[in-house]
Amino acid sequence: MARAVRSTSSRFDLIALGTCALLALIARGLPPNLRDPVATSMRRTFLAPLVMLQERAEASRRSLLLDQQRTAITDSVALRAMTVSSLEDENAKLRRLIGLGGRLKWGFIPAEAIHGRGVRDVTTMTLTAGSAAGVRRLSPVVAPEGVVGMVTDVDPTMSQAMIWTHPDFRVSAMSEDGAAFGIVQAHLASATTGYLMELRGIPFRTALKPGTLILSSGLGGVWPRGIPIGRVLEEVKTSEGWARTYLLRPAVSPADVGAVMILRADRISQGFDNVWTNVAAVDSAARAIAAAGDSLAKTAALAEAAARRAAIEAVSRDTSHATSGIPGGLPPELLPDTSLQEAAPLSDSAIEARRRAAARKARRDSLARDSAERDTLVMSPTRGIIR
């Protein structure tokens, strides 16, 4: 009996399975034009809440991914922005170096400076050019800003240079106008003020103002004339009564030295009078041109404003003449406000503009009269010439 019941039950299960599978296969075999409406109706009715849930979940995931991408982009932009300033500095340095190369034209060896130790105690550096490139001992090392140092040891591919901060470094110097000569060396007592220079041996009768440019004098045979060394900061009080000592701000900071140029001996003999001085001249000329441009623009703007004011006054006068013919005139709120212009004294340019406008008007009137007379002569041929 139990077996019979189990057999009937399993037969019923099999029939149910077959029916369900058949229905599913029928659904699978439906043509697209029937399948789509069935699926759509299910999605729009009892499945709508589930579809909405899935849409929101997918939207959340998309926004999460977008946020991650946005964060990554923001991070990369911030990272690049951090390097932009250093890249700009490097670009500016390289541009200056290229400009110096263009002015030197020949007789120099470009090299990269490799700093061996910390920034605060830089006195020597390694250069990536050696005797194979033409570098010789005691060759001057310069940067676009001015004096850097001098080659002390030379290898075939590398060389060592003494920077001006070295205690043994000396260069003969002079003021820009050539009035004072002295010797420049490192200011060794400047542990807290950074790298500074001293200009020693200036005659006591010669006083240098702060900001005076100090150049190499060309005396001594190592350094050519005319390379900027630094600018005068202040006088240093010393016990020497026969000479003055000045503190200089160096033209080249040792920490900023990257790309340099090593001058060859044959180039030194030709002189550098117009190489570094041109830079300052060009800078000041550019500043002067900019200032002049600003001044011209200001003058033009003032003249234009005066002419506009004169025109407004003329219009307001015409308006008042015209309104005088209207009985009662225009109401006060429609009249132009000329009280300020009448009260304010006229400027020279405004008076000039008025005078020009009056002259133009008189010229126009006379031309019109001439033209009217010619027309009269032409239009009356049968009546003879009548004046």
Binding site: S9, D13, C20, A21, I26, A27, R28, M42, A57, E58
Partner: protein, 162 residues
């Protein structure tokens, strides 16, 4: 099955269906876990095979309605999986986690095999790759999720003791 058992099974079923339409798209895995198969398996072991087949057909049609091109394929697969799960419940649903995990894994894998074969969209290498790589991975994820859910929802799934 008692009324309380029916209510608990229904609640579990609803939770799993909701998870299928929320957690699954939120995770967006390449080999996703299938909460509908889990729901079908957990319900089928409490039903007789004919009813399990009917529930499988209904769940299959519901899941297929979101992919009209494969309408019916999921229904066929769910019907067979539901029937077989109900038929084999005595074998697999012992109080053993490893057996339960294998049951979930096998259920999802068999579902995938039937689904992709009936759907007929994939063929050749793609079908082999799907059935031997992505489907087992998805089945493994489903099995892990099923075991976790068994732990979490044990109070719901176990009958109340006097």
């Amino acid at each position: 099955m008692t009324l309380g058992g029916t209510l608990r099974a229904t609640t579990t079923f609803v939770i799993l269906v909701l998870l299928h339409y929320t957690l699954r798209p939120l995770l967006g895995w390449r080999a996703p876990m299938d909460f509908l198969v889990l729901a079908l398996l957990l319900v089928s072991i409490r039903l007789r095979p004919a009813t399990a087949a009917l529930v499988g057909l209904a769940i299959g049609l519901v899941s297929d309605s979101l992919t009209p091109d494969s309408l019916g394929a999921g229904a066929v697969a769910m019907t067979i999986v539901g029937y077989v799960a109900s038929w084999l419940k005595a074998v697999f649903f012992a109080d053993n986690l490893a057996l339960n995990a294998f049951f979930f894994f096998l259920g999802k894998w068999v579902f995938d095999v039937i689904y992709f074969v009936v759907e007929g969209r994939l063929g050749g290498i793609e079908l082999v790759q799907q059935l031997l790589l992505w489907s087992p991975l998805s089945a493994a994820a489903t099995a892990v999720a099923g075991i976790l859910l068994l732990f979490i929802m044990r109070p719901l799934l176990e009958p109340a003791r006097a």
